[in-house]
Protein backbone atom coordinates (compact mmCIF):
# COMPACT_ATOMS: atom_id res chain seq x y z
CA UNK A 1 0.00 0.00 0.00
CA UNK A 2 1.30 3.45 -0.90
CA UNK A 3 1.33 6.17 1.74
CA UNK A 4 -1.63 8.51 2.15
CA UNK A 5 -2.78 11.14 4.58
CA UNK A 6 -5.60 10.09 6.86
CA UNK A 7 -8.66 12.09 7.89
CA UNK A 8 -11.46 11.08 10.23
CA UNK A 9 -14.32 13.62 10.14
CA UNK A 10 -17.17 13.23 12.65
CA UNK A 11 -19.98 14.19 10.29
CA UNK A 12 -21.01 13.71 6.68
CA UNK A 13 -20.79 17.47 6.07
CA UNK A 14 -17.21 17.64 7.34
CA UNK A 15 -16.39 14.65 5.13
CA UNK A 16 -17.74 16.31 1.97
CA UNK A 17 -16.05 19.62 2.85
CA UNK A 18 -12.77 17.75 3.21
CA UNK A 19 -13.09 15.86 -0.04
CA UNK A 20 -13.61 19.14 -1.88
CA UNK A 21 -10.46 20.61 -0.32
CA UNK A 22 -8.00 17.70 -0.27
CA UNK A 23 -6.58 16.68 -3.61
CA UNK A 24 -7.07 13.08 -4.82
CA UNK A 25 -8.96 12.04 -1.68
CA UNK A 26 -11.13 8.97 -1.47
CA UNK A 27 -13.84 8.08 1.03
CA UNK A 28 -13.17 5.00 3.16
CA UNK A 29 -16.39 3.24 4.22
CA UNK A 30 -15.96 -0.32 5.54
CA UNK A 31 -12.82 -0.80 3.47
CA UNK A 32 -13.67 -4.37 2.51
CA UNK A 33 -12.84 -3.62 -1.14
CA UNK A 34 -10.83 -0.41 -1.03
CA UNK A 35 -8.16 -1.64 1.40
CA UNK A 36 -7.43 -4.90 -0.49
CA UNK A 37 -7.30 -2.86 -3.72
CA UNK A 38 -4.84 -0.42 -2.14
CA UNK A 39 -2.73 -3.31 -0.84
CA UNK A 40 -2.40 -4.56 -4.40
CA UNK A 41 -1.53 -1.00 -5.46
CA UNK A 42 -4.46 -0.99 -7.88
CA UNK A 43 -5.67 2.11 -6.09
CA UNK A 44 -3.36 4.71 -4.61
CA UNK A 45 -5.29 7.71 -3.30
CA UNK A 46 -3.10 10.34 -1.68
CA UNK A 47 -5.68 10.89 1.06
CA UNK A 48 -8.34 8.78 2.75
CA UNK A 49 -11.40 10.26 4.41
CA UNK A 50 -12.53 7.64 6.89
CA UNK A 51 -16.31 7.75 7.41
CA UNK A 52 -16.36 5.27 10.30
CA UNK A 53 -16.92 7.92 12.97
CA UNK A 54 -19.57 9.87 11.04
CA UNK A 55 -22.49 8.80 13.21
CA UNK A 56 -25.01 10.71 11.08
CA UNK A 57 -24.37 8.24 8.24
CA UNK A 58 -25.50 5.27 10.28
CA UNK A 59 -28.83 3.71 11.24
CA UNK A 60 -32.08 2.26 9.97
CA UNK A 61 -35.40 4.15 10.04
CA UNK A 62 -38.94 3.51 8.94
CA UNK A 63 -40.18 6.60 7.05
CA UNK A 64 -43.73 6.21 5.84
CA UNK A 65 -43.73 3.40 3.31
CA UNK A 66 -39.95 3.32 3.02
CA UNK A 67 -37.05 1.93 4.94
CA UNK A 68 -34.16 4.35 4.96
CA UNK A 69 -30.71 2.97 5.69
CA UNK A 70 -27.67 5.16 6.43
CA UNK A 71 -24.73 4.61 4.10
CA UNK A 72 -22.36 3.55 6.90
CA UNK A 73 -24.73 0.92 8.32
CA UNK A 74 -22.85 -2.39 8.51
CA UNK A 75 -24.16 -5.52 6.78
CA UNK A 76 -24.49 -7.19 10.19
CA UNK A 77 -26.73 -4.36 11.42
CA UNK A 78 -28.99 -4.51 8.37
CA UNK A 79 -29.24 -8.31 8.65
CA UNK A 80 -30.24 -8.02 12.31
CA UNK A 81 -32.39 -4.88 12.20
CA UNK A 82 -35.87 -5.57 13.58
CA UNK A 83 -37.39 -3.01 11.22
CA UNK A 84 -35.75 -4.52 8.12
CA UNK A 85 -36.57 -8.09 9.18
CA UNK A 86 -40.19 -7.14 9.64
CA UNK A 87 -40.77 -4.88 6.61
CA UNK A 88 -38.34 -6.17 3.95
CA UNK A 89 -37.11 -9.57 5.21
CA UNK A 90 -35.54 -10.23 1.79
CA UNK A 91 -33.16 -7.32 2.36
CA UNK A 92 -32.14 -8.61 5.80
CA UNK A 93 -31.61 -12.04 4.22
CA UNK A 94 -29.41 -10.56 1.52
CA UNK A 95 -27.28 -8.63 4.03
CA UNK A 96 -26.79 -11.85 6.01
CA UNK A 97 -25.48 -13.62 2.88
CA UNK A 98 -22.67 -11.15 2.14
CA UNK A 99 -19.13 -12.44 2.71
CA UNK A 100 -18.62 -13.98 6.14
CA UNK A 101 -19.39 -12.87 9.71
CA UNK A 102 -16.20 -10.81 10.16
CA UNK A 103 -16.73 -9.08 6.81
CA UNK A 104 -20.38 -8.33 7.67
CA UNK A 105 -19.23 -6.69 10.91
CA UNK A 106 -17.23 -4.14 8.90
CA UNK A 107 -18.64 -3.82 5.38
CA UNK A 108 -21.28 -1.15 4.73
CA UNK A 109 -24.27 -0.76 2.43
CA UNK A 110 -23.05 2.58 1.10
CA UNK A 111 -19.61 1.18 0.35
CA UNK A 112 -21.07 -1.78 -1.52
CA UNK A 113 -23.45 0.36 -3.56
CA UNK A 114 -20.81 3.01 -4.38
CA UNK A 115 -18.36 0.33 -5.48
CA UNK A 116 -20.91 -1.41 -7.75
CA UNK A 117 -18.96 -4.65 -8.01
CA UNK A 118 -20.66 -6.65 -10.79
CA UNK A 119 -21.01 -9.59 -8.40
CA UNK A 120 -22.07 -7.63 -5.29
CA UNK A 121 -25.43 -8.35 -3.65
CA UNK A 122 -26.84 -4.93 -2.70
CA UNK A 123 -27.08 -3.44 -6.21
CA UNK A 124 -29.67 -6.10 -7.11
CA UNK A 125 -31.81 -5.18 -4.09
CA UNK A 126 -31.59 -1.48 -4.94
CA UNK A 127 -32.77 -2.08 -8.50
CA UNK A 128 -35.48 -4.65 -7.81
CA UNK A 129 -36.90 -2.65 -4.91
CA UNK A 130 -36.74 0.59 -6.93
CA UNK A 131 -34.62 2.25 -4.25
CA UNK A 132 -33.47 5.84 -4.26
CA UNK A 133 -29.81 6.59 -3.56
CA UNK A 134 -29.64 9.82 -1.61
CA UNK A 135 -26.34 11.71 -1.79
CA UNK A 136 -25.14 14.97 -0.28
CA UNK A 137 -26.25 16.63 -3.54
CA UNK A 138 -29.31 14.85 -4.96
CA UNK A 139 -31.60 11.82 -5.10
CA UNK A 140 -30.75 9.23 -7.73
CA UNK A 141 -33.17 6.42 -8.73
CA UNK A 142 -31.41 3.02 -8.66
CA UNK A 143 -32.18 2.53 -12.36
CA UNK A 144 -30.01 5.55 -13.17
CA UNK A 145 -27.39 4.95 -10.49
CA UNK A 146 -25.70 1.72 -11.61
CA UNK A 147 -23.97 2.68 -14.84
CA UNK A 148 -21.54 -0.17 -15.56
CA UNK A 149 -18.77 -2.32 -14.08
CA UNK A 150 -17.63 -0.54 -10.91
CA UNK A 151 -19.24 2.58 -12.35
CA UNK A 152 -22.05 4.64 -10.88
CA UNK A 153 -23.73 7.99 -11.43
CA UNK A 154 -21.76 9.42 -8.50
CA UNK A 155 -19.71 12.48 -9.38
CA UNK A 156 -16.28 13.30 -8.03
CA UNK A 157 -16.55 14.02 -4.33
CA UNK A 158 -20.24 13.06 -4.13
CA UNK A 159 -21.14 11.01 -1.04
CA UNK A 160 -23.97 8.52 -0.54
CA UNK A 161 -25.74 9.58 2.64
CA UNK A 162 -28.57 7.07 2.75
CA UNK A 163 -30.62 4.70 0.63
CA UNK A 164 -34.41 4.63 0.68
CA UNK A 165 -36.16 1.33 -0.09
CA UNK A 166 -39.93 1.34 -0.81
CA UNK A 167 -41.53 -1.55 1.10
CA UNK A 168 -42.69 -4.22 -1.38
CA UNK A 169 -45.63 -6.58 -0.87
CA UNK A 170 -43.40 -9.58 -1.64
CA UNK A 171 -39.67 -9.96 -2.22
CA UNK A 172 -36.86 -12.48 -2.06
CA UNK A 173 -33.20 -12.89 -2.96
CA UNK A 174 -31.58 -16.08 -4.15
CA UNK A 175 -27.87 -16.40 -4.76
CA UNK A 176 -25.79 -19.08 -6.38
CA UNK A 177 -22.49 -18.30 -4.77
CA UNK A 178 -18.93 -19.05 -5.66
CA UNK A 179 -17.92 -21.45 -2.89
CA UNK A 180 -14.52 -19.79 -2.36
CA UNK A 181 -15.22 -16.07 -2.60
CA UNK A 182 -18.94 -16.25 -1.68
CA UNK A 183 -19.62 -13.66 -4.36
CA UNK A 184 -22.65 -14.28 -6.55
CA UNK A 185 -22.06 -16.27 -9.73
CA UNK A 186 -25.70 -15.38 -10.26
CA UNK A 187 -27.90 -13.60 -7.75
CA UNK A 188 -31.54 -12.71 -8.43
CA UNK A 189 -33.68 -10.32 -6.42
CA UNK A 190 -37.41 -10.34 -7.18
CA UNK A 191 -39.95 -7.90 -5.77
CA UNK A 192 -43.64 -7.32 -6.21
CA UNK A 193 -45.25 -3.99 -5.34
CA UNK A 194 -48.84 -3.41 -6.31
CA UNK A 195 -49.33 -5.32 -9.54
CA UNK A 196 -45.79 -4.75 -10.85
CA UNK A 197 -42.95 -7.25 -10.53
CA UNK A 198 -39.33 -6.13 -10.73
CA UNK A 199 -36.33 -8.42 -11.11
CA UNK A 200 -32.63 -7.59 -10.86
CA UNK A 201 -29.75 -9.91 -11.69
CA UNK A 202 -26.23 -9.58 -10.26
CA UNK A 203 -23.08 -11.58 -10.99
CA UNK A 204 -24.07 -12.42 -14.56
CA UNK A 205 -24.18 -9.32 -16.76
CA UNK A 206 -21.05 -8.07 -18.52
CA UNK A 207 -22.23 -4.54 -17.67
CA UNK A 208 -23.00 -5.32 -14.02
CA UNK A 209 -26.42 -5.52 -12.39
CA UNK A 210 -29.40 -5.39 -14.79
CA UNK A 211 -33.17 -5.89 -15.02
CA UNK A 212 -34.37 -8.69 -17.33
CA UNK A 213 -37.40 -7.05 -18.92
CA UNK A 214 -39.01 -10.21 -20.28
CA UNK A 215 -38.91 -11.96 -16.93
CA UNK A 216 -40.41 -8.88 -15.26
CA UNK A 217 -43.26 -8.82 -17.79
CA UNK A 218 -43.93 -12.53 -17.28
CA UNK A 219 -43.95 -12.15 -13.48
CA UNK A 220 -46.10 -9.02 -13.62
CA UNK A 221 -48.63 -11.12 -15.57
CA UNK A 222 -48.35 -14.00 -13.11
CA UNK A 223 -46.20 -13.76 -9.97
CA UNK A 224 -45.55 -17.47 -9.64
CA UNK A 225 -42.70 -19.80 -10.74
CA UNK A 226 -45.17 -21.14 -13.32
CA UNK A 227 -45.36 -17.66 -14.81
CA UNK A 228 -41.85 -18.34 -16.15
CA UNK A 229 -42.77 -21.63 -17.84
CA UNK A 230 -41.48 -21.87 -21.40
CA UNK A 231 -39.15 -18.89 -20.98
CA UNK A 232 -35.38 -19.06 -21.28
CA UNK A 233 -32.71 -16.41 -20.99
CA UNK A 234 -30.27 -15.60 -23.82
CA UNK A 235 -26.56 -16.08 -23.09
CA UNK A 236 -25.49 -13.05 -25.15
CA UNK A 237 -24.07 -10.29 -23.00
CA UNK A 238 -23.47 -12.53 -20.00
CA UNK A 239 -20.08 -13.13 -18.39
CA UNK A 240 -17.82 -16.07 -19.14
CA UNK A 241 -14.98 -16.62 -16.68
CA UNK A 242 -13.23 -19.46 -14.83
CA UNK A 243 -16.25 -19.89 -12.55
CA UNK A 244 -19.00 -20.29 -15.14
CA UNK A 245 -19.63 -19.65 -18.82
CA UNK A 246 -22.39 -17.49 -20.28
CA UNK A 247 -24.73 -20.43 -21.09
CA UNK A 248 -24.46 -21.72 -17.53
CA UNK A 249 -25.16 -18.27 -16.13
CA UNK A 250 -28.16 -17.89 -18.47
CA UNK A 251 -29.54 -21.16 -17.14
CA UNK A 252 -28.87 -20.11 -13.55
CA UNK A 253 -30.77 -16.85 -14.05
CA UNK A 254 -33.94 -18.84 -14.76
CA UNK A 255 -33.32 -21.27 -11.89
CA UNK A 256 -32.57 -18.53 -9.36
CA UNK A 257 -35.53 -16.42 -10.52
CA UNK A 258 -37.91 -19.36 -10.05
CA UNK A 259 -36.45 -20.08 -6.61
CA UNK A 260 -36.65 -16.44 -5.60
CA UNK A 261 -40.30 -16.17 -6.67
CA UNK A 262 -41.14 -19.37 -4.76
CA UNK A 263 -39.35 -18.01 -1.71
CA UNK A 264 -41.16 -14.65 -1.96
CA UNK A 265 -44.53 -16.43 -2.14
CA UNK A 266 -43.69 -18.66 0.83
CA UNK A 267 -43.23 -15.67 3.16
Amino acid sequence: MYAFTYHRPETARKATNLVAKVEDAKFLAGGMTLLPTMKQRLAAPTALIDLSTAEDLRGVELKGRNIVIGAMTRHFDVANSQIVKEKIPALADLAGMIGDPAVRHRGTIGGSVANNDPAADYPSACMALNATIITNKRKIPADEFFVGLFETALEEGELIVKISFPIPSKAAYEKFRNPASRYAIVGVFVAKKGSVARVAVTGAGSGGVFRPNRLEAALTAKFHPKGLDGLSFPAEGLNTDIHADAEYRAHLIMVMTRRAVAKALAK
Partner: protein, 164 residues
Amino acid sequence: MPKVSMVVNGNKVSGDIDSRTLLVQFLREELRLTGTHVGCDTSQCGCCVVHVNGSSLKSCTVLAMSLEGANVVTIEGLAQDGKLHPMQEAFRENHGLQCGFCTPGMIMAAVDMVNRKGSNMDEATIRHELEGNICRCTGYHNIVKAIADGARNMAVAPQAAAAE
Protein backbone atom coordinates in the same frame (compact mmCIF):
# COMPACT_ATOMS: atom_id res chain seq x y z
CA MET B 1 3.47 10.39 12.16
CA PRO B 2 -0.12 10.24 13.44
CA LYS B 3 -0.83 8.79 16.82
CA VAL B 4 -3.34 6.07 17.61
CA SER B 5 -4.54 4.85 21.01
CA MET B 6 -6.68 1.86 21.82
CA VAL B 7 -7.22 -0.77 24.49
CA VAL B 8 -5.74 -4.15 23.63
CA ASN B 9 -6.45 -7.10 25.90
CA GLY B 10 -7.36 -4.69 28.69
CA ASN B 11 -4.20 -2.57 28.40
CA LYS B 12 -4.15 1.01 27.12
CA VAL B 13 -1.70 1.19 24.25
CA SER B 14 -0.70 3.87 21.79
CA GLY B 15 1.76 4.30 18.98
CA ASP B 16 3.03 6.78 16.42
CA ILE B 17 2.33 4.98 13.19
CA ASP B 18 2.26 5.42 9.45
CA SER B 19 -1.38 5.98 8.36
CA ARG B 20 -1.29 2.85 6.21
CA THR B 21 -0.54 0.54 9.17
CA LEU B 22 -3.10 -2.26 9.28
CA LEU B 23 -4.45 -3.38 12.63
CA VAL B 24 -2.64 -6.72 12.27
CA GLN B 25 0.66 -4.92 11.67
CA PHE B 26 0.09 -2.71 14.70
CA LEU B 27 -0.63 -5.78 16.83
CA ARG B 28 2.25 -7.89 15.57
CA GLU B 29 4.97 -5.37 14.80
CA GLU B 30 4.33 -2.57 17.29
CA LEU B 31 2.85 -4.49 20.22
CA ARG B 32 4.66 -7.77 19.46
CA LEU B 33 1.43 -9.71 19.88
CA THR B 34 2.29 -12.33 17.28
CA GLY B 35 -0.51 -14.75 18.09
CA THR B 36 -2.67 -13.04 15.46
CA HIS B 37 -1.50 -14.47 12.14
CA VAL B 38 -1.48 -13.26 8.56
CA GLY B 39 -2.50 -16.07 6.25
CA CYS B 40 -3.78 -14.77 2.93
CA ASP B 41 -3.65 -11.01 3.51
CA THR B 42 -6.74 -10.73 1.28
CA SER B 43 -9.50 -11.12 3.92
CA GLN B 44 -10.36 -14.66 2.86
CA CYS B 45 -8.66 -16.99 5.35
CA GLY B 46 -9.55 -15.65 8.79
CA CYS B 47 -6.17 -16.33 10.46
CA CYS B 48 -6.10 -12.66 11.52
CA VAL B 49 -9.52 -12.52 13.20
CA VAL B 50 -9.60 -10.47 16.41
CA HIS B 51 -12.46 -8.86 18.33
CA VAL B 52 -13.04 -5.12 18.06
CA ASN B 53 -15.66 -3.64 20.39
CA GLY B 54 -17.04 -7.15 20.87
CA SER B 55 -17.31 -8.26 17.22
CA SER B 56 -15.01 -10.34 15.03
CA LEU B 57 -13.00 -8.46 12.42
CA LYS B 58 -10.32 -9.40 9.94
CA SER B 59 -7.39 -7.39 11.24
CA CYS B 60 -5.59 -7.53 7.88
CA THR B 61 -8.35 -5.42 6.34
CA VAL B 62 -8.78 -2.55 8.75
CA LEU B 63 -6.52 0.43 9.35
CA ALA B 64 -5.19 0.80 12.89
CA MET B 65 -6.01 4.53 12.58
CA SER B 66 -9.70 3.69 12.13
CA LEU B 67 -9.78 2.08 15.57
CA GLU B 68 -8.90 5.08 17.73
CA GLY B 69 -10.33 4.39 21.18
CA ALA B 70 -11.49 0.87 20.29
CA ASN B 71 -11.44 -2.14 22.59
CA VAL B 72 -9.47 -4.94 20.93
CA VAL B 73 -9.14 -8.53 22.15
CA THR B 74 -6.61 -10.87 20.54
CA ILE B 75 -5.92 -14.54 21.12
CA GLU B 76 -3.41 -13.49 23.82
CA GLY B 77 -6.29 -11.88 25.72
CA LEU B 78 -8.43 -15.00 26.15
CA ALA B 79 -6.55 -17.01 28.79
CA GLN B 80 -7.00 -15.65 32.30
CA ASP B 81 -4.52 -16.15 35.15
CA GLY B 82 -2.64 -18.84 33.26
CA LYS B 83 -5.81 -20.82 32.62
CA LEU B 84 -6.93 -21.43 29.04
CA HIS B 85 -10.26 -19.99 27.88
CA PRO B 86 -12.88 -22.77 27.53
CA MET B 87 -12.71 -22.45 23.73
CA GLN B 88 -8.91 -22.84 23.74
CA GLU B 89 -9.24 -25.82 26.07
CA ALA B 90 -11.85 -27.38 23.76
CA PHE B 91 -9.53 -27.07 20.75
CA ARG B 92 -6.82 -28.87 22.75
CA GLU B 93 -9.16 -31.57 24.05
CA ASN B 94 -10.71 -32.25 20.63
CA HIS B 95 -7.45 -31.96 18.68
CA GLY B 96 -9.03 -29.12 16.69
CA LEU B 97 -5.77 -28.30 14.92
CA GLN B 98 -2.81 -29.80 13.17
CA CYS B 99 -0.22 -27.19 12.17
CA GLY B 100 -1.94 -24.56 14.29
CA PHE B 101 -1.54 -21.64 11.91
CA CYS B 102 -5.28 -20.94 11.53
CA THR B 103 -6.05 -21.71 15.18
CA PRO B 104 -5.92 -18.19 16.68
CA GLY B 105 -8.40 -16.95 14.06
CA MET B 106 -10.55 -20.06 14.43
CA ILE B 107 -10.77 -19.58 18.19
CA MET B 108 -11.53 -15.85 17.96
CA ALA B 109 -14.20 -16.55 15.30
CA ALA B 110 -15.60 -19.35 17.49
CA VAL B 111 -15.93 -17.14 20.56
CA ASP B 112 -17.65 -14.46 18.46
CA MET B 113 -19.98 -17.13 17.07
CA VAL B 114 -20.97 -18.22 20.59
CA ASN B 115 -21.54 -14.58 21.59
CA ARG B 116 -24.00 -14.20 18.72
CA LYS B 117 -25.54 -17.67 18.41
CA GLY B 118 -25.47 -19.02 21.95
CA SER B 119 -23.97 -22.12 23.43
CA ASN B 120 -26.12 -24.76 21.74
CA MET B 121 -25.21 -24.58 18.07
CA ASP B 122 -25.79 -27.51 15.76
CA GLU B 123 -23.14 -28.70 13.36
CA ALA B 124 -24.69 -27.01 10.31
CA THR B 125 -24.69 -23.64 12.09
CA ILE B 126 -21.05 -23.96 13.13
CA ARG B 127 -19.93 -24.96 9.64
CA HIS B 128 -21.89 -22.11 8.07
CA GLU B 129 -20.58 -19.56 10.55
CA LEU B 130 -17.01 -20.71 9.87
CA GLU B 131 -17.18 -19.71 6.21
CA GLY B 132 -14.66 -16.94 6.71
CA ASN B 133 -12.00 -19.17 8.26
CA ILE B 134 -9.88 -21.57 6.23
CA CYS B 135 -7.90 -24.54 7.55
CA ARG B 136 -5.57 -26.40 5.20
CA CYS B 137 -4.92 -29.37 7.52
CA THR B 138 -7.80 -30.72 9.52
CA GLY B 139 -10.73 -31.05 7.13
CA TYR B 140 -12.61 -29.02 9.78
CA HIS B 141 -14.14 -32.06 11.50
CA ASN B 142 -12.37 -31.66 14.81
CA ILE B 143 -12.61 -27.88 14.65
CA VAL B 144 -16.39 -28.17 14.46
CA LYS B 145 -16.40 -30.65 17.36
CA ALA B 146 -14.14 -28.36 19.38
CA ILE B 147 -16.37 -25.33 18.81
CA ALA B 148 -19.53 -27.24 19.83
CA ASP B 149 -17.74 -28.42 22.96
CA GLY B 150 -16.18 -25.03 23.73
CA ALA B 151 -19.55 -23.33 23.28
CA ARG B 152 -21.16 -25.60 25.87
CA ASN B 153 -18.28 -25.05 28.26
CA MET B 154 -18.42 -21.27 27.85
CA ALA B 155 -22.00 -21.36 29.11
CA VAL B 156 -20.84 -22.72 32.45
CA ALA B 157 -17.52 -20.88 32.73
CA PRO B 158 -17.83 -17.33 34.09
CA GLN B 159 -14.43 -16.25 32.74
CA ALA B 160 -15.64 -16.40 29.17
CA ALA B 161 -17.52 -13.17 29.64
CA ALA B 162 -14.68 -11.55 31.58
CA ALA B 163 -12.31 -11.89 28.63
CA GLU B 164 -14.48 -9.59 26.53
